[in-house]
C-alpha cells in the first residue's frame, strides 16, 4: 500500500466561512476528502465553489474555520508543497532564473548547488534563451512555464496548481498540458490541480472530483482509468475519454445551473 494508495492528505469536515461586509459566506462546507500519495487529482466545479479556497488552505495561505487537515508526507525533509498560482505570480523584479531559483534560495540552498536544477527545469520548459529576461519581456504562456518550473525546481512533496493555464489561449494550453505531463510523470509527486475545464481534468488526472456550487461540497468522484504515459492529442479521440467527459459533464451541469440560478 504505497504509491497512489497511501493517504497523504486527509480533510475531515473542513469548513471555511468568510466575513464579507459583516455577512457570512460559506465557501466550503464539511468537506471530507482523501488525497493519495503520488496521484494527480483534478478538482472541477462551477466558479465560486471554493476550489481556490481549498487549495489555499492546503498551501497554508488560508486557515479553515473548522475541521481538520492531516498531512503525512512521504519525505519530510522536502518542502511540503509548492503552488502554481492562477494569473501572474512571477516577481517582476526578478529574471526567469531568479524566479525559478526562488524556493531553493529561500530554503538556503547554495547557488552552486541549485544552478543545475534551475537550468534543468528552465531547459525542460524550453526557456533557456530567456533565462536572463524579466517577466514583462515574456508572453503569457512563457510566464506560466516559468511558474511551473519554479514549483518543480523547489522539489516539493505536493504540487498545488490553481487553474494555472486558465488565462492562456487554447494552443498554449495544449502545449503546457503536454509539458506538465512530461515533467510530472516519473516524479511521483502528488498533484492537486484546480480547473474549470473537463478536458484538462481528463487529460491530466488520475481522479476527478466534482464540487458543488456554493457552499463547496463533494458531489462526485470519478476515476480516470486512461493509460499513462498520456498523449494529449490522441487521448481526445479515445472512446473512454468521451464517455468520461459526458459523465463528468452530467454532474457538473446541474451545479452550473444551480450556481447560475443562485445569483
Amino acid at each position: 500500500m504505497f504509491y497512489k494508495e497511501r493517504t497523504i492528505i486527509k480533510l475531515e469536515g473542513v469548513t471555511k466561512v468568510f466575513n464579507v461586509k459583516s455577512q457570512k459566506v460559506t465557501a466550503i462546507e464539511k468537506l471530507n476528502l482523501s488525497i493519495y500519495d503520488g496521484e494527480f487529482l483534478c478538482i472541477v466545479g462551477p466558479s465560486g465553489c471554493g476550489k481556490t479556497t481549498l487549495l489555499r488552505i492546503l498551501a497554508g495561505l488560508e486557515q479553515q474555520t473548522s475541521g481538520r487537515v492531516i498531512i503525512s508526507p512521504r519525505e519530510p525533509e522536502k518542502p511540503l508543497n509548492s503552488m502554481v498560482f492562477q494569473g501572474d505570480s512571477l516577481f517582476p523584479w526578478m529574471t526567469v532564473k531568479q524566479n525559478v531559483a526562488y524556493g531553493l534560495k529561500m530554503r538556503g540552498v547554495a547557488p552552486k548547488d541549485y544552478e543545475k536544477v534551475v537550468a534543468h527545469y528552465i531547459n525542460m520548459m524550453g526557456l533557456s534563451k530567456f533565462e536572463n529576461a524579466y517577466p514583462h519581456q515574456l508572453s503569457g504562456g512563457m510566464r506560466q512555464r516559468v511558474s511551473v518550473a519554479r514549483a518543480f525546481a523547489n522539489d516539493p512533496e505536493i504540487l498545488l496548481l490553481d487553474e494555472p493555464f486558465g488565462a492562456l489561449d487554447e494552443q498554449n494550453r495544449i502545449l503546457l498540458q503536454q509539458e506538465l505531463l512530461k515533467i510530472w510523470e516519473g516524479t511521483f509527486k502528488t498533484a492537486v490541480f484546480i480547473t474549470h475545464s473537463i478536458d484538462e481534468a481528463l487529460i491530466l488526472g488520475d481522479r476527478v472530483l466534482v464540487m458543488t456550487a456554493h457552499p463547496g461540497r463533494l458531489k462526485a468522484e470519478i476515476k480516470i482509468d486512461l493509460p499513462r504515459p498520456r498523449d494529449t492529442l490522441s487521448m481526445r479521440a479515445n472512446k473512454r475519454f468521451v464517455e468520461l467527459y459526458e459523465q463528468i459533464w452530467s454532474y457538473l451541469k446541474e451545479e452550473v445551473i444551480k450556481a447560475k440560478s443562485a445569483v
Binding site: L61, M83, F85, G87, S89, F91, P92, W93, Y102, M106
Partner: protein, 288 residues
Amino acid sequence: MNMTEEKLKIKIPREKEIKNVIVLESEENNQKRSVFGLDGIVFKICSLFSPLLILVLWELLSKLGILDIRLFSTPSLILKSMLPVVISGELFYNTFISIRRIVLGFLAGAIPGVIVGLSMGLFPLIRLVFQPIVSAVFPIPKLAIMPLILLVFGLGEVSKIFVIAMGVFFLVVINTMAGVLNIEQIYLDVAKNYGASRKDFYLTVALPGALPMIFAGFKVAMGTALLLIVAAELSAARAGIGYMIWRAYDMFDIERMFVALIMMSVLGYVFSFVIDWIERLAIPWKHN
C-alpha cells in the same frame, strides 16, 4: 414597407461603376511620415531655443527700460559678474558646502525613511504604532521647527543637515509605506508559500516591489531638500548657496543673487539627473 425590405432595394453597383476608391497607404509610401520626422527636429530645436529666447527677451526688455534693471538686471550683466565669483572659487566653495549638506541630510533622512516605511508597510502592528506619529509630525512645516533645531543643535552643520533630514524622512516614509501596501497580495502569497523568512520578505518582496514608489518619494524629497537648504542657510550660516543669496540681498547685489539662483537651478537639475540614473540601475525591470 419595413426597414429590411427597404435595405434590400438598395442597388449594389458593379465594380466599374465605383468612382470613389480609398487606398490605405503603407508606411513606406506614406508622405506624411517624413514630415513627422522633420517635426521631431523642429520640436527639439524649439525646446532648445525657448530658454534662449527668454534670455534675449529679458535682455531687450531691460535695455529698453521696460524691466527695472535694478531689480531684474540683465543676462549680460549677470554673466559679467559671474566671472569673478567663479575665478575666486567663491561660487564653487559655496556650492560644495551646500551639496555636502544636501547629500548628508538626504541620506540621513532617506535611509531610516526607507527602513521605517518598509516596516510600516509590512507589519500592521508597527503601522498602527507609527501612523499617528507620522500623521501628526508630517504636516508641521519643517521651517517652523528650524528655530527649535537651532536651539538644540546650535549653529553648526548638524542643524542644517537635520532640518533637511526631517523634511526628507517623512516624505520617504509615506511613499515607501504606500509602495509596500500597493504590492499585490499574490507576491506575498508566493513568498509565504515558498518559505520566505522575515528578512526575505524585506529583501525579496517589499523592497524591490516598493522601489518605484520609493524613487518617486526620493524625487519629491529632493525638491524639498533644495527648498530647505536655502531657508536653513538664511539663519546662522557662513557659507552655502542659500547664504550667497541672502548675502546678495543684504548688499543689494542683484547680479550675484542671480548667479546663485542659476547655481540652484543647476543643482536641482544635476540631483534629479543623478536620482534618475540610480533609479534606472536599481529598477532594471522597469526599463528596457
